[in-house]
């Protein structure tokens, strides 16, 4: 239900994800080539990452090209954007192409409303996060959570985040290398390494 829905912390204004998928028994037959075209348009308009929740990210499949080449009908694909300008460009391209797959944008609602207006789109349905409940004393601190919550499936482990922070502090890697390392376990490719690098820079400077 949630995937990209519980991102918290800093630099959310530089963090947008587009998800594209068909609906089973409605428009999934022949969706593979269309999903590929959506991802190609995302890259043409400034997406910094793409991914396929069915077969894995560029590291798991070998390359971004493999992500495109291996797409199947019924895949759920994603593209990550670091600013509103590129997001609007992609949405305009999607509207013009009119390929008929379902498109969901994750990001700050007020910003997404403006982006939809610029692209000539109207919001249909929204999914809001009402946060974390239960035994929240078990949660790590916010500085870790803001990185962990960028992978909705929980693949970016707290231990890995701490190791990356320590490696940067020790001069063993740069913030960009650390951000890319944190992206790699996120099989859907929705982790935003641009935002992660900004956060890691703050945490290690």
């Amino acid at each position: 239900m949630t995937h990209t829905n519980h991102r918290i912390g800093e630099y959310l204004e530089e963090d947008y994800v587009i998800l594209i998928m068909p609906s089973k028994d409605i428009n999934h037959v022949g969706s593979g080539p269309k999903l590929r075209r959506y991802l190609e348009m995302a890259l043409e308009n400034g997406a910094i990452k793409i991914g396929d929740a069915r077969l894995g990210n560029e590291y798991h499949q070998g390359s971004m090209q493999a992500v495109l080449d291996n797409l199947e009908d019924r895949a759920v694909v994603q593209a990550v954007f670091k600013d509103r300008e590129t997001l609007v460009k992609a949405l305009k391209a999607y509207k013009a192409a009119d390929l008929g797959q379902c498109v969901v944008v994750s990001g700050i609602f007020d910003h997404v409303v403006e982006c939809c207006k610029e692209a000539g789109l109207e919001r249909h349905t929204i999914n809001q996060s009402m946060g974390r409940w239960g035994n929240t004393d078990r949660l790590p601190p916010l500085e870790v959570l803001q990185l962990n919550t960028m992978c909705g499936h929980g693949m970016v482990a707290v231990g890995l985040i701490n190791e990356v922070i320590e490696d940067i502090k020790a001069g063993k890697s740069t913030v960009d290398e650390g951000a890319e390392r944190l992206f790699s376990p996120c099989m859907c490719g929705i982790f935003n390494p641009h935002r992660a690098a900004l956060i890691l820079k703050d945490l290690t400077s």
């Binding site: 068909p22 609906s23 969901v104 994750s106 349905t125 999914n127 996060s129 946060g131 707290v158 231990g159």
Partner: protein, 239 residues
């Protein structure tokens, strides 16, 4: 998941990749706590074990539940898609699943970080079942219930540990206060964390029908979330 103790050289590369801290170095050998492992596959995919000591043992019932609800690349039979959830609001313009006047609820037990045993998932499910909800049928978590009317799960899955299990159902907006009360109460009765999602069809005037109920509750609401921009075709024809 398991680590071949004869092959492991104790380099520790796999340890930080485990989302539930189930891998530990004991006497310079990596070992997976089999009861704590959620079978997410992250260590096998990511640790790049130099001696290929990590291996996937045969998964049999009820341990198969762990993989379905933890490994993002496992495709659930019920939903037909990878991941733990369903199409939910992502395809709402085509399915009409959440119509005006309905509120889609997602309660993801175990997310984030803590993971969850089904003992806790059941407590949350039984708390909300008292509101008379109908759990989403194509959700893999629902299929593990022995009695969806009460939220009771099959006894043999109760000790299974997963990264998260999602309870999905729809309610009317006016039921939201009762839902919040039920969730506040059960929050103090479980060891896991859960996240709460509220999905809503945007009204024709552009307003969000759930906003008054959330504002009246005084509960925290994120400034960010998901927006379906209505490009899917064919469109569900609303009456």
């Amino acid at each position: 998941m398991q680590i071949d103790q004869e092959l492991c050289t104790g380099c520790g590369q796999c340890v930080p990749y485990c989302p539930v801290n189930a891998i530990r170095l004991e006497d310079d050998i990596s070992e997976i706590d089999f009861d704590e492992c959620a079978e997410c596959g992250n260590c096998l995919r990511m640790a790049d074990c130099p001696v290929d000591a990590i291996y996937q043992q045969e998964l049999t019932w009820p341990r198969t539940v762990r993989s379905i609800l933890s490994d993002p690349l496992t495709i659930a039979e019920e939903s037909g898609i990878s991941g733990r959830g369903t199409e939910e609001m992502k395809t709402n313009e085509c399915t009409g699943r959440f119509k005006l006047g309905a509120v889609g609820i997602g309660i993801e037990v175990g997310r984030c970080v803590t993971g969850a045993r089904f003992y806790d998932v059941e407590k949350v499910a039984m708390a909300v079942a008292k509101l008379g909800v109908t759990f989403e049928k194509v959700n893999p978590t629902t299929s593990l219930m022995s009695d969806p009317a009460t939220g009771k799960f099959k006894d043999d899955v109760l000790n299974e540990k997963v990264l998260s299990a999602i309870l999905e159902f729809a309610i009317k907006p006016e039921q939201m206060p009762d839902l919040f009360d039920a969730l506040k109460k059960v929050s103090g009765e479980i060891d896991a964390v859960f996240s709460l999602d509220v999905a809503t069809r945007i009204a024709p005037d552009g307003s969000v029908p759930t906003d008054p109920y959330i504002q009246a509750s005084g509960l925290w609401l994120a400034p960010n979330g998901k927006t379906n921009v209505g490009l899917g075709k064919p469109r569900y024809q609303e009456v």
